[in-house]
Each structure stands twice: as structure tokens, then as C-alpha cells.
Symmetry: C2
Subunit: 252 residues, 2 copies
């Protein structure tokens, strides 16, 4: 296996730039850390371009790595630490090509994210949509980039299980309507319909920004806007939790 | 208003230690950042011991601050930045005494946390329990400290709205059983009962550690263990989302 021992190696310096969205977009690639996620990428047929592994990792995952011998580099823990955004690096970091497949909308169950900005929320919602058996996730403009390390970590590999489409939400709603998919917005407004009064069905659920919720423009395009009742003194629910309640309500 | 301009001021140096649990426990006090949270502390009657405010904050919240004139310090942005764990400090940080009230368990709806370690998860679950109108939260040994800044931030003030009791969970389950509160554990095991097959009622819901779930010892003490079905390829749900689904299932 090839080796890189210096943090000043030009490849390492270049890869470090992938922590910035700008470079991920330019290069069409991203960093994926941890054996579990790299294995999920492998299983899904994602294009793994480079693997950096520590000595410890090489021993532990030697079998898996034989498939990738030609693109695998043995590196120091200090290099992994430099490329990781975690206090304790996980022994393996891969460079993976972004998913280039043109994903199509189809009749089914979807979740739409309007400017959800917290990476943990975006990742958690994609993970929940996967768990709940949804057909896919539509990320509107202004949502967190799914190739950031924080989103990748909280998705736990779900991006390899279901389509995550970046798309203007006005267009997406228009397309889904043509396929007769019911579209439910969400709002913090008791005048909206309490969610559990709506029949359970495959639907497109639209959730919004942490501070402002779904934009008025989009709420005006839905079939119905839903409200999760607040019984206590909290002002609102975390958007990841609200999405989870609705995703499961329509499915069980 | 008194002023502190030097980051080396002994008070500032002492307060900075409150980022460590050890000092919070010793001093029975914690740091609370942001006007919204300080206002929630005020409304709930919490003992606010010191307020540090920037010049900008003093202008914005002058009315509120008149009640606290004698314990209020005008400080530089740089001091707030030193005490904050956020990239952009919020203009106000209070030192608040931990809640010393002896909270009692009572017959009602509860959520129990078994070694939930991620501060964001602990905070989100407490916020959801508040929203869903639960009677309180019981934190077992090994869960994240609710007075850490991350938990405080994700609770969004819900700790001022409902009792959060730290207690051994074996004892808590025993007490709740004596009051005839049904106790539902959660597990990632299809042999458990699918949650929506159980009648909706005020109950105690027991959720567990991010990696290991609820301990076997505790699962053996419940009335019933519940399972949230996984329809897709995700291995599990985020514990904050799972808690949200169950908290609302039993309430709506």
C-alpha cells in the first residue's frame, strides 16, 4: 500500500479543502469518514476515489480494502486528524464522487425541506425518511449541503439508500401535483389542520426553516397545511422531531 | 451599571470554569446565554445571580435589566466571546442558580432517559416533552448534564417549564409502578410490540443510549417494550426523533 506520512503532502492539502462547499462543488467529490459510512458507500455502488487509512484501520478492515488497493493510502493518525472534524478520527476517510445520477420524481411518499439550515436537522430528517420507507427527499434552495461532514454523519448512510434531490420547491410541488401526490405543508398556526385529522396516505410533507418555518409562498401551493399541537409551554418543536412525527404518522 | 473590560478580571476567569460540569456541580450555578433563555429563567422565577451584557444588549434590553441593576455588569464583546461557546455571542450571558427544588414524581405522563449522551438529543427530548404536555423528564445516571450550554440551547427554555429530575431509573420505575403508571421501554427488536398497537394513555416512556439503546436490566422492569418499525434500510432512528414519535403518539 502507498504511504503518506507528511501533513504537508500536496494531496492532503488539496483534500482538506473539501471541508468547504465551494471546493466540493468544483471537484464533485466529498470526504466520508468512518468505516460504517464507507462500507455503505461501497454497497450502494458509489464511486470511491481515494481511501486514506491508519495502520490500525488497515489491520481492522484489510479484507474490505483489498478491493481498493490501487487507490488506498496508509497515512498517519495526525493526517486523519487534520482531515477529520471530529476530536477522535475514525481510522478511515474516503474521497467519494457526488452522486451524478439524475433522480426523477415519481408518485409516492416524499419529504420536502424548505431552507432547513442546521446540518444535524437535515441529516436526521433524511435518516428518518429512510427508516419510514419514503421514496425520497427533496432539498430546496437554502438547505444545508448534504455533503458536509455534519450532515453525512447524522444521515448515517441514508443518502445511499434513497434519492436526495436538490430542486426548486415550487417546481417540485408542481410536478408532484401533476402526479396527484397530496402535498401537506406544516405551520405553527392553530388555524391549520391538526395533523392527525388528515387520512393516512402516501404524501409529500413540506417542513421549513428552524426560525421561520415554511415560506408563505410555498404554504400557498399545498393541498393542506398541518399543525402539530403544542400542549405545553414550548413555542415550537425541533424541525427534525416534527418531520419524524409526520413521516411516521402517514406510514403506520 | 458596573463595568468589566478586561478578560483577565478574576470574576470572568471564575465564570469561565462553569463550562465544566465539575465546577457547575461545585458552585450549583451555570451559564445561560441569549436574551430569550434569560427571559424564560426570569419568568420561571429562577435565581439569576449575575448578568453580563454588552453595550448593544444594554440598549436593547434596558427595560428588562432594570430589575437586575445591582447584579448587572456591562462587559466587552470580547468577554462575552470568551464565555460563549458560540461563534457569535448573543449580547447577554447570565449566571443562574441550579434549580434546588425537590421535584416529586406523580401519577402522569413522563419520559425517562437511560444514558442519552448527546447534548442535542437530551435537549431536544426535553423540549418535545414540554411541547407534548408531559408532566416531566427523568434523567438516569450517565445522561448528558442539562446545565451544559449545548443542552440549554437545544432545550430552548423547556427546563423552566417542566420538572427535569435526575434519578436512578430503577428507583423511578419502581415509584411510577406504585402509582400505576404504565411503563413502556423501547427497543430495536421486531419481537417487541409495534408502538401503535398499544392503547394511547398517559405513560412513562423509556428511551436509551444512542449506540446501545435501553439497558437490558431496565427493559426487564417495564410493562411492555415497544418497537418503531423500520420500513427502509436505515438501521435505527435518532433517539430524539424516536422519543418525539412516541411522546406524540400517546398524546394525540
Amino acid at each position: 500500500m502507498k504511504e503518506i506520512q507528511s501533513n504537508k503532502n500536496p494531496l492532503i492539502k488539496t483534500l482538506k479543502k473539501l471541508h468547504q462547499k465551494k471546493y466540493r462543488d468544483q471537484q464533485n467529490q466529498y470526504l466520508l469518514e468512518g468505516f460504517h459510512l464507507v462500507e455503505e458507500a461501497h454497497k450502494s455502488g458509489a464511486e470511491i476515489q481515494i481511501i486514506l487509512v491508519s495502520e490500525r484501520g488497515q489491520k481492522e478492515w484489510g479484507n474490505f480494502l483489498t478491493d481498493y488497493e490501487s487507490i488506498c493510502y496508509l497515512v498517519s493518525e495526525s493526517i486523519l486528524k487534520e482531515l477529520s472534524d471530529q476530536p477522535t478520527p475514525q481510522g478511515i476517510i474516503a474521497v467519494v464522487a457526488k452522486d451524478k445520477r439524475q433522480q426523477q420524481l415519481k408518485k409516492g411518499a416524499w419529504i420536502l425541506l424548505d431552507r432547513v439550515q442546521d446540518p444535524g436537522n437535515v441529516g436526521t430528517i433524511i435518516r428518518t425518511a429512510d427508516a419510514a420507507g419514503y421514496d425520497g427527499v427533496i432539498l430546496g434552495d437554502g438547505s444545508a449541503d448534504i455533503y458536509s461532514t455534519k450532515v453525512l454523519r447524522s444521515m448515517q448512510g441514508s443518502n445511499f439508500h434513497l434519492p436526495v434531490i436538490t430542486m426548486n420547491l415550487v417546481v417540485a410541488i408542481h410536478e408532484l401535483k401533476k402526479m396527484a401526490v397530496p402535498i401537506y405543508g406544516t405551520e405553527l398556526n392553530k388555524a391549520a389542520k391538526q395533523f392527525d385529522k388528515v387520512p393516512k396516505t402516501n404524501a409529500a410533507i413540506l417542513v421549513g426553516n428552524e426560525g421561520q418555518g415554511v415560506s408563505k409562498e410555498l404554504l400557498a401551493l399545498t393541498d393542506q397545511n398541518l399543525y402539530i399541537p403544542i400542549f405545553g409551554q414550548a413555542e415550537s418543536l425541533n424541525v427534525g422531531v416534527a418531520a419524524g412525527i409526520l413521516l411516521y404518522y402517514f406510514k403506520v
